[in-house]
Subunit: 636 residues, 2 copies
């Protein structure tokens, strides 16, 4: 604990203990790059040896992409009041194109800093904000276009390439089906130069504000692993800063690659500071929400000046990407009139209201180039919002939605002219057979700028299960080329997600993203599946749990049945029949082959051993048998 | 309660109260066919009027396909000891091609009946089993080929066509996207003649054993609504008959179209009798499981005679479809040797063991025509088992799997020669991009006989969430043409599902099946989505819950958040801003339009009213606002 921070802050900001537990059977490792300060985190899962009866071989550890950050590193002392370690300042400083601001350039920020009543809420940030020197552009896209490979790019190459390094070691698990990638351009190995070229081309973004120095760089693009976003945000006045940071660390633990802070209400400036200082993942926001707060929720009172000040305020804090609803044009709004569910995007409805009230064009559109100027001075990435996305199956792929998408395509080209990194937000609610049209149109209109979709939900009829209705659509659009999937929780449309819902949403979306990686044929993606299935076949239960996306739930589900069953071991054979256990069948097949010298169409004895397995229920019974009747088994 | 049954049976078989509750906001209705005894059940969901501010129109009730059976009919007195009402005997009797058997033709059945120790376990069936008269064929396919439209076919036409009748009434909800059906042949209206022609063609089956007279007929085929199966089965000696019937009624309540009884262990003959007598949905089994019990679990001791007796035993009881692993040929077994997970089908492993032990061809294959003779004498449908299905992503679409599928295609033609209804089981574990190959190959090789798949799971890395990994694959293969989806629960690979898991699996699969219906463009499928989305937009919360697949969970999730929020109504506006409530925005837009006489690009005032909406969280807050601040609102 940092006692000087303790003295300044009266609050007792405590880290969520559930988020700092190391994963079972795993250790945090760092792979070093070309310089000492490029240290890329991975989780390495240790595996047991294969049981002797299955061959007894060693199983090398499996490395998996690790979004959990310093929180799961036992070597790092977590203190929310001190924030996370600074890993990027040296990289940014040495580029020599930024300057430290002596004062905030945001009027609002200065007001907040000058208000003594807020002292107890403030994160104790002693570091000053940084900005591009006049005339300079500090975006990763700008460097990429100039042919510069930044430390961020090298970091990402190592991170994305992790699985490939493993595959070279792991012969037996090295098999993978050829993918079907719909024109993606996934190389056999992710090199720093490939990262650079994709960013230069606009086909990938590295959301990495120069003021977010705690960031572990990551990339969003169709030729990289599919990413997922989780949302947080204080939604009630009573929600504390600790609760928001807890949602952040909890979401990242289970796999959120980025987190959007959708807070509304009071003190969101201070809450955001705490979130960013304690976030190793990129943070996205929707600045119009805060701008609206500043005009007391009266949409028509919004002005470009207030919005601009909000962008600067948040850019100085280190927000990595902004959702900007610049495509909600006045002429598109009436196109939503006959929809079943009108405009369902909050930002979209705010801008539609403003446009109608003034009968003028959306000021985010008319000031778009000025927004670009701000973005490139801090390297904030665009997430061009889909304010007219469909809110029901009925409204999918309509003129309003696709009209806005066309405009987002135009805006992408303007952003790229400024070397501002850009991704595009997408729907929403879309039946399965209309998903690909969304992806294809986005790729075409937005020239392969990364697509970032909410689901889509493939039916409207399952409130309470919209993580699943949307997980189906998310997996499919990820396969078709979507770069990042915004999660949906079971509480969607019904209420505010709790921690359990957040985890359920995140895991569902990790499944969708990984299923997409497999289908696209991302190199090495199948390794974890192979390792888990091999563990399953060999009754290495702990390995199966630890290789899963959620070892805790897998273990709990297993243990839920086992105690009841354990009392019934004596009935094992009479219940299932002695040959229902794959271990026993395997043994008998082996014995039979040995005795008879049988050669079934060229099959070897070793092959026979692996030939017979049974379903999961049986596997479990077999495991009990092994655990509780091991002596008997080994006497056979 | 039937007191005479009470006297005979000492056990107190009680129906699960959770399964007999009527659905909220719904009533059971019956649509009558061409004769008095064709009464097709549906659930009719009553809807509130649209709030005055949204136009105040009446919303006609919505009918949905109802799998819950007599259990949710308050007019039916449920007594498990008496079984369900007989609705088919008259239909079967009048065909004049069956005879009542004075004694069971199964040796095993006679032994069980003669054993006085089993008296307390027995269902009190006074009715004798029925069989085709010598030389007769009583399959629905046989009738269909002869041009006969059976009452079962008419019943199914009414049942499948339900939504269309509604669509004609419901103008505003009548919009539906054209589907993409990959060569399916879905008509605009399901007629009895269409049902007949599909059954005759082998493209659909009506699993309806002449001894299952309690059955509410349903159909499985790619040109009908996609169906789902739920599994039950006693897996522990302590599992009671009531528990099995409870799983049946619970699964059917939430949407299981058929149920497979996968029981092993003692007393499965008696358990099965209780299940069938209390089941309104078709029951499937895997007879080899019971046959194996009869030889004390020694696979190599299985004989054709024992298996044959088991088929007759179960056919006389009324099992509607049999999984028969006749495609596991000796020559395919070695092809599984190099797999990551070998053979994972229990039936497949039993038959592989038998083939290897005797080094002879699978007796299910060599006796296939004799099996057909039995099937057609009771109208049991084939579910040709995929004993070599892949158990991991690595093993998907391999030579063993597709070799077996080729054989299942041959067997389909043999079954059709005998007019035996046939569907084909499919995988398993398949990455997304390899799913369509499965469907296309099955359609080709099996000449469009219905496909019935387990998932498929689209990744192996999420034990504890395999309802989701497989729900993704299930939705996709349903879209591509799969006729029935076998559910997977969250406990798959880990333990035995409890009631919560069964429901989670069923709902996930209803989502998958419905998403598939939408994508295929099944006529009327989108009606329920439209009605729910309209209710959502208009803040008709109860309607939204009741139209959902699981009203109880939706309501509980909503209520979980609401109590916390209700205390904060005073902060509503300061938290979200007064314009974050779509109801208020709508009102202001309307006022604005009225005052200014604004005509925004031809948009009418009425259209403006529906134009602005906000996201779910906001909708909820708006609802609280309406509920708790309605007075304020109406004063505006």
């Amino acid at each position: 604990m940092n006692t000087s921070v303790d003295k300044i802050l009266s609050q007792t900001a405590e880290v969520d203990q559930a988020s700092v537990q190391p994963f079972t059977g795993s250790q945090k490792i760092y792979v070093q790059g070309s310089r000492n300060d490029i240290r890329v985190p991975m989780r390495e899962i240790s595996l047991d040896d294969t049981p002797t009866d299955f061959g007894g071989e060693k199983n090398p550890p499996v490395r998996v992409y690790d979004t959990s950050g310093p929180y799961t590193d036992p070597e790092v002392a977590i203190d929310l009041r001190a924030g996370l370690p600074d890993i990027r300042s040296a990289w940014i400083e040495e580029r020599g194109d930024t300057e430290i601001l002596s004062d905030s350039q945001s009027i609002f920020t200065r007001e907040r800093l000058d208000d003594p009543k807020l002292a107890h809420l403030r994160f104790n940030l002693t570091r000053k904000a940084r900005r591009a020197k006049p005339g300079m552009n500090v975006s990763q896209m700008h460097y990429a276009k100039k042919g510069i490979i930044t430390p961020e790019m090298e970091y990402i190459a190592i991170r994305e390439n992790m699985a490939l390094a493993q595959v070279r070691e792991l012969g037996v698990l090295n098999q993978q089906h050829p993918g079907m990638s719909f024109g993606a351009n996934i190389p056999g190995e992710i090199t720093p130069e490939f990262v650079r070229s994709e960013v230069a081309r606009g086909r990938a973004i590295i959301p990495a504000n120069i003021n977010h120095v705690e960031l572990e760089p990551m990339i969003i693009g169709r030729n990289f692993l599919v990413k997922i976003n989780g949302n947080i945000g204080n939604s009630a006045l009573g929600s504390s800063i600790e609760e928001e940071v807890e949602k952040l660390t909890w979401g990242a633990r289970w796999g959120a690659d980025t987190v959007m802070d959708l807070s509304t209400g009071k003190n969101i400036h201070e809450t955001r500071e705490w979130i960013i200082r304690n976030s190793h993942v990129p943070i996205g926001t929707v600045p119009i929400y805060q701008a609206l707060e500043k005009v007391n929720g009266i949409a028509e009172n919004l002005t470009w000046e207030i919005f601009r000040d909000t962008l600067i305020e948040q850019a100085e804090q280190g927000v990595d990407y902004f959702t900007i609803h610049a495509g909600v044009l006045l002429r598109y709004v009436p196109l939503t009139a006959k929809r079943v569910t009108g405009i369902v995007s909050r930002g979209g409805s705010i801008m539609a209201k403003w446009c109608l009230a003034h009968h003028r064009e959306n000021f985010l559109y008319t000031h778009f180039e000025e927004i670009c100027e701000i973005m490139k001075a801090y390297d904030v990435s665009f997430s061009l919002g889909d304010g007219l996305r469909p809110g029901s199956i009925a409204d999918a792929n309509d003129a309003a939605q696709f009209g806005e998408l066309e405009t987002l395509g135009e805006l992408t080209e303007i952003a790229w002219k400024h070397d501002v990194q850009t991704m595009i937000e997408g729907p929403g609610h879309v039946p399965m057979h209309m998903i690909k049209e969304n992806m294809d149109k986005q790729l075409e209109v937005c020239k392969e700028a990364p697509f970032y979709t909410l689901g889509p939900l493939t039916t409207d009829i399952a409130p309470g299960y919209d993580h699943i209705t949307s997980g189906i659509g998310a997996a499919m659009i990820g396969w078709y080329g979507c770069a990042m999937l915004c999660y949906v929780t079971p509480k969607e449309h019904l209420g505010l997600p709790n921690k359990k819902d957040v985890k359920e949403g995140i895991i569902t979306y990790k499944i969708a993203a990984h299923a997409a990686d497999l289908a696209k044929g991302h190199p090495g993606a199948q390794l974890r599946d192979n390792a888990l299935s091999k563990a399953r076949f060999e009754f290495r239960w702990e390995d199966q749990f630890n290789l899963g996306l959620d070892p805790d739930t897998a273990r709990a589900y297993h243990d839920e049945t086992l105690p009841k069953e354990s009392a019934k071991v004596a009935h094992f054979c009479s219940m299932c029949g002695p040959k229902f256990c794959s271990m026993k069948i395997t043994q008998e097949v082996r014995d039979y082959a040995a005795q008879q010298g049988v050669n079934v169409e060229g099959i070897s004895e070793d092959q026979l051993v692996k030939m017979i397995d049974v379903e999961a229920e049986m596997q479990e019974k077999a495991r009990e048998f092994i655990e509780q009747g091991a002596e008997l088994y080994h006497k056979v």
